[in-house]
């Protein structure tokens, strides 16, 4: 018997595959992981505490910086919470614009995931292809909001800007183009034997475990539970569109990949329908008081972000600022299962599993 020794390996916060400033301290035996301790908090900015001294409209830009890959959904969740408290009716056109930008954001976010995941696995090209399409989407969002990532687009009661002329047509033309590119991705990656070997059966967890760990989004749907708040608790206009909730049973990285790729297609369906139903005219923001003061009380809303269920809890004392604000940040919850999944895996699988969870550090650290 050869005497072996366990080694402590520090992965991150500066590491190419931790997607930001995530750090994980591994105890390894050869290349096999014996124990994994994630360390988070390097990007903590205290959004929730800061919000206690800000007016509601001023909080919106802070939410952009949480999940910076899908800032529109974050914008929406805070607006939605305040609107629920104040019972504000949203003009139809504003609601359509919100759905459009959120779904475009979802496609962009999944594209970033697809690209970086393949980069983690070692394929370089898909990353650049995915970013070409993402660039187009960011162009649309830039045109409508004036920013490429931190949009600050939604307001309580509607959206800040109406769609510029020709914008809807451009988005309409984008849908078939994106479908074509998506078929290209499948040709390049989905059938690749090496890729399949890397993801199939890796990072498996069961339905029960997924529920126990409170996973959501594609991380839950990969176990076969078709739970999507857009379908199960429709908010905004999602009850007007027909789309499926893709779910796969195998519970591994391969199912999570298939899930996200299928979700891009579903989002495209929603965009297609929203563009068709888009009202010709109308207001983009409801009549809301100059200073927003939700009544005393509390509210919790949850919506489906690209990463899972994002929730927003507001406790109001009837003042301009919230008494307490809390976000349920899906990346943070989804990350909790990581140490359990890593035990007994090797370092290559660490990258596959971590990438498969799809975390955004801005959201994990809050």
């Amino acid at each position: 018997m050869i005497r072996t020794e366990e080694m402590l390996l520090n992965v991150g916060p500066q590491h190419p595959s931790t997607h930001g400033v995530f750090r994980i301290v591994l105890k390894i035996d050869g290349e096999t992981i014996v124990e994994a301790n994630p360390v988070i908090g390097y990007l903590h900015r205290g959004t929730e505490k800061l919000a206690e001294n800000l007016q509601y409209t001023q909080i919106i830009p802070y939410t952009d910086r949480m999940d910076y890959l899908a800032a529109m959904t974050n914008n929406y969740v805070i607006c939605h919470a305040v609107e629920t408290m104040m019972n504000i009716e949203i003009p139809e056109r504003a609601d359509y614009l919100r759905v459009l930008v959120m779904e475009l954001g979802r496609v962009a976010s999944h594209l970033v995931w697809f690209g970086t995941y393949l980069l983690d696995i070692g394929a370089m090209s898909p990353f650049l292809y995915a970013f070409r399409e993402r660039e187009a989407i960011i162009g649309f969002l830039n045109e409508i909001s004036g920013a490429r990532l931190t949009f600050n687009y939604m307001r309580i009661g509607g959206v800040k800007w109406d769609a510029p002329e020709g914008w809807i047509e451009k988005v309409r033309d984008f849908v078939p183009y994106m479908r074509e590119q998506l078929a290209g991705y499948h040709d390049l990656v989905t059938g690749n034997e090496i890729f399949l070997n890397r993801v199939k059966g890796i990072g498996f967890y069961s339905k029960e475990e997924a529920l126990d760990y409170s996973l959501s989004g594609a991380n839950l749907r990969c176990t076969g539970i078709a739970w999507d708040l857009r379908k199960d608790e429709p908010y905004s206009l999602y009850d007007r569109f027909t789309f499926d909730v893709p779910a796969f049973d195998s519970g591994d990285a391969w199912a999570r990949y298939q899930c996200r790729m299928a979700e891009i297609e579903e989002s495209l369906k929603i965009i297609e329908q929203a563009v068709e139903q888009f009202p010709e005219t109308g207001e983009v923001i409801a009549k809301v008081p100059k200073i927003i003061k939700p009544p005393k009380g509390e509210a919790f809303v949850r919506i489906e972000s690209p990463r899972g269920e994002i929730g927003c809890y507001i406790a109001s004392e009837g003042k301009k600022e919230p008494y307490r604000l809390k976000f349920r940040r899906p990346s943070f919850y989804n990350l909790q299962i990581l140490p359990k999944l890593l035990v007994g895996e090797n370092i290559s699988n660490l990258i596959t599993i971590l990438g498969g969870i799809d975390i955004v550090l801005g959201e994990v650290d809050g």
Binding site: S17, D120, A123, S125, N346, L350
Partner: protein, 334 residues
Amino acid sequence: MVNDLLTSPAGWIHAAIFFGLGACLLMIVLGFVTYAILAERKVLGFMQLRPGPNRVGGRFGLLQTVADVLKLLIKEDTIPKAADKPLFILAPVLAFAPAFMVLAAIPFSNHLKFSDLSIGLLYYIAISGITTVGILMAGWASNNKYSLLGGMRSAAQMISYEIPLVISVVGVIMFSGSLNLTEIVEGQKTVAYMFLSPLGFIVFLISSIAELNRTPFDLPEAESELVAGYHVEYSGFRWAFFMLTEYVYLFAMAALTTVLFLGGWNPVPFLGCIPGIVWFALKFSLIVFFMIWVRGTMPRLRADQLMEFAWKVLLPVALLNIFVSAVVKELFLR
């Protein structure tokens, strides 16, 4: 001329001539490395919707690599405090020297060759094995956990893939009846060995990519897992040496593939008017392009899958190839 020199008795003048020729070869190879790196970046760029180098040296970035190398030369030479200093310094040299030594055995055309070893093929395989020691040494001497993992991976990988690589050329040796690379090329006058032993060719091509540590077998330096693998602590010109090793091996391996399987400088039928060296360059470029193409397409294998693939797939196929080659030789080449 070279043939006369090779067969004539040794003397100081001959030594000087060979030294000059060696220096010439070094320049040619370095020139190749410079432009191979540029070509790789350009081709990958075209595949990946980006222009690649396009500033230094005109709009094709012709001097980009030169600028990169200059930058590496003037960089501060750092050696980590905890590193094993003598080994740390020795490792890049030990990795690089064999890469260059193997070139001596390769004939580039009928007239352009620097030696005529009767065991040319064996020499190549034996010498190239030394590089593994250099890489393992670099991984160990850096005293860094990532480089240690990278070094271990690469040692395991290079040793495992050397075996199918060697066995896959047995077919070629059987056809030509010689280990001399010139004779192997002469044996392909009528038909290239890649058609006679397609299995061997495929196994050889895959194993050679693995030997070169290139995608999809670039585990030793998997940048998304091990940051940079065995050379994570290296910087400046020592690091450049590792890169140089890699590209010189790319040169050598592509040349060897051309010699063994693509018929070296033998022309394609009916196009004999084009000189042999041009054919060699064409076939050689084809192999290099193929390797760049693979890099643009494939994801990376996992360490255990890599080993499994070498021992459970490539090795049996290579063994089968010996049998098939024997049958082919018996039936068609009598």
